[in-house]
């Protein structure tokens, strides 16, 4: 068997079980692929020693009683705290930070036998849609159509690039406004943001706590089902984690969606929507109809207000969450001048440690929470959030099982092409994804076709709360009908 790094999780698992391959072989294949792919800037902290040690241990425990992911090499987003391994959220302010503890998600993955190849690039504190706001520099999309380097999307850009370029079998991502689904769509990979509360947030560096949710990023839908099953579950250490049984997501993948009702939200048909994405969306609906689903038009009237509500709520929560980076307990502390007191220490440390976009969001959050503006901005945004959630509840109450929508407004764009001077332009990338975070719903991006310029395009399926199993099965059906098999050709 050659090029073991190109296997899916399911294929590798089956080969491991049959004894056709060892975890050490899989891990070595991934490690050499990683070393040959520095041009993609996907891995920002490589952990080959840990990987080899875990792979040997996995090979030793093979057989009965081994975990679902025994021996499977994965990449971990830099947002997850991993014990003794740099966990920086791609920020200068966490330079040198090596957690003394392990996040719940990575603990669960390791208990299941997974191997960690290293930490993956991302937008600083998960704030961004292009991986450009990273202290390590941007990750690069393995898909290339001309001289330009394209973005793999963000914030989980390193994860998406690593999965698409076969630098791991799967990766962890996190999604606050679209940070799993948009990069998945930009790289022809699959990513699911679960229902809020499905996966523990403990040990994941916080951005906006009421919106953040971790999920898998993988080569296909089956792999997402396998990995989500390991990542999910109640955790006493996260008070918002749900005490709800985790079903066997993989067993739910029958491909049978007869009788399911799929909603097409008319408000997502934005004026000036990219023609190819519009057409792909119609084709996706047709595929689901051909598979036996009933496709109906629905209305989600408050869609337009999701992005503005997000850009109040997320910065507000970020301004509070990121107050902990003060130069006292961990990470960077600025060099102080003589006579500088504690206030100067805070102000200089935060100015040096945080990148521009993070500073901007902290300050916007500070502003919308400040006396006199709290009601006008923050409370109003929370009321609009109630209405956005109600839109979905009404659609589901009317019998809709899942909603089909585009994942992104365009295919991947070039690094540096979206201006920094007008932040709103970048924010528009999340127009189709952010609604779900506000409503707490699960959503999955599935690669469905290629644009005429040869770049992958994805569609998004949105599910009922806690119905990830059903959602993944519909995604599985869409994946089979679309038959997307294209891979980026290696240039790096």
């Amino acid at each position: 068997m050659t090029e073991l790094n190109k296997l899916t999780i399911a294929a590798a698992r089956d080969a491991l079980r049959k004894g056709e391959v060892t975890s050490v072989e899989l891990t070595e294949a991934c490690l050499s692929a990683i070393d040959a792919a520095d041009a993609l800037n996907a891995y920002v902290h490589k952990t080959p020693e840990i990987a080899m040690e875990q792979a040997k241990a996995a090979d030793a425990r093979r057989g009965e009683g081994a975990g679902v992911l025994n021996g499977i090499p994965l990449g971990i987003k830099d947002l997850f705290c991993t014990k003794g391994v740099a966990s920086q959220a791609a920020s200068g302010i966490l330079e040198g930070f090596k957690p003394e503890y392990e996040s719940t998600v990575t603990s669960k993955l390791f208990e299941s036998g997974a191997v960690m190849l290293g930490k993956l690039n991302m937008d600083e504190f998960a704030m961004g849609s292009s991986n450009e706001s990273s202290v390590y520099g941007p990750a690069v999309n393995p898909w290339k159509i001309d001289d330009r380097n394209l973005t793999p999307g963000g914030s989980s850009g390193g994860s998406a690039a690593a999965v698409a370029a076969d630098l791991c079998l799967g990766a962890t991502g996190t999604d606050t406004g679209g940070s799993i689904r948009q990069p998945a769509a930009f790289t022809g990979t699959v990513g699911i943001k679960p229902t809020y509360g499905r996966v523990s947030r403990w040990g994941i560096i916080a951005y906006a706590s009421s919106l953040d949710q971790a999920g898998p990023m993988t080569k296909d839908v089956r792999d997402s089902a396998i990995m989500l099953g390991v990542m999910a579950g109640h955790d006493m250490k996260d008070s918002t984690s749900a005490d709800i049984a985790v079903p066997d997501f993989e067993a739910a993948l029958t491909g049978d969606i007869k009788g399911k009702t799929i909603g097409i939200p008319k408000e997502y048909r934005l004026e000036g929507l990219n023609d190819e994405i519009s057409r792909l969306w119609d084709q996706g609906a047709e595929m689901l109809r051909d598979a036996g689903a009933k496709v109906v038009d629905i209305s989600l009237p408050h869609t337009k207000y999701a992005l503005p509500a997000y850009y109040v709520i997320a910065p507000a929560e970020a301004s509070s969450n990121l107050a902990r980076y003060d130069g006292v307990r961990f990470g960077h502390r600025a060099k102080l001048g003589s006579g500088d007191g504690i206030t100067e220490m805070y102000e200089k440390t935060r100015a040096e440690g945080f990148g521009h976009e993070v500073q901007r969001r902290i300050m916007v959050g500070t502003y919308v929470l400040s006396a006199g503006f709290y009601d006008a901005y923050y409370n109003r945004a929370r009321k609009v959030r109630t209405l956005i959630k109600r839109d979905f509840e009404e659609a589901f109450a009317a019998g809709v099982d899942a909603i089909l929508a585009p994942a992104t407004p365009s295919p991947a764009f070039g690094i540096g092409e979206v201006s920094d001077a007008n932040p709103v332009e970048m924010y528009l990338n999340d127009v189709f994804t952010v609604t779900l975070n506000l409503a707490g719903l699960p959503g999955v991006a599935v690669p469905t076709g290629l644009a005429s310029n040869g770049l992958p395009l994805g569609l998004q399926l949105i599910g009922r709360p806690w119905e990830e199993a059903d959602l993944l099965n519909i995604a599985y059906s869409l994946e089979r009908s679309a038959g997307f098999v294209a891979k980026p050709s290696k240039w790096w």
């Binding site: 930070f97 090596k98 957690p99 003394e100 503890y101 809020y196 509360g197 009421s210 006493m236 008070s239 918002t240 749900a242 005490d243 408050h302 337009k304 207000y305 503005p308 509500a309 850009y311 109040v312 107050a323 006292v328 307990r329 961990f330 990470g331 960077h332 500088d340 007191g341 504690i342 206030t343 100067e344 220490m345 102000e347 200089k348 935060r350 100015a351 500073q359 901007r360 300050m363 916007v364 500070t366 502003y367 919308v368 901005y377 409370n379 109003r380 945004a381 929370r382 009321k383 609009v384 959030r385 109630t386 209405l387 959630k389 932040p423 709103v424 924010y427 506000l438 707490g440 709360p465």
Partner: protein, 95 residues
């Protein structure tokens, strides 16, 4: 609502982020772009709507009020930029 340089300075101060004087006008302009976008929310009728506090209708779990963790001084201080004699060290706070 328009943010001027003075407001930008005040917000930076509240956020404890040092912003150089000559960077304030550009910052104010970026705030205005974002707030201009956010102001669309004023179009929405929110009369009688409760602000969302929890996206999933669940009660927070309770546990017995007992010590479950502790004695980790070394681990807690491990990443501190400046730790001395078992404490975080900071510049002088009170004269």
């Amino acid at each position: 609502m328009s943010i001027d340089t003075e407001t930008a300075r005040r917000v930076a101060k509240l956020a404890r982020i040092k912003v150089e004087e000559d960077a304030l006008p550009a910052l104010a302009q970026e705030f205005n772009a974002i707030l201009g976008f956010i102001e669309q929310l004023e179009e929405v009728n929110v009369d009688g709507i409760e602000p969302m506090t929890s996206v999933t209708p669940q009660r927070l779990k309770r546990r017995v009020d007992v010590v479950t963790d502790g004695d980790q001084q070394g681990a807690v201080l491990k990443n501190a930029p400046d730790a001395r004699e078992g404490f975080f060290a900071v510049p002088k706070v009170v004269e």
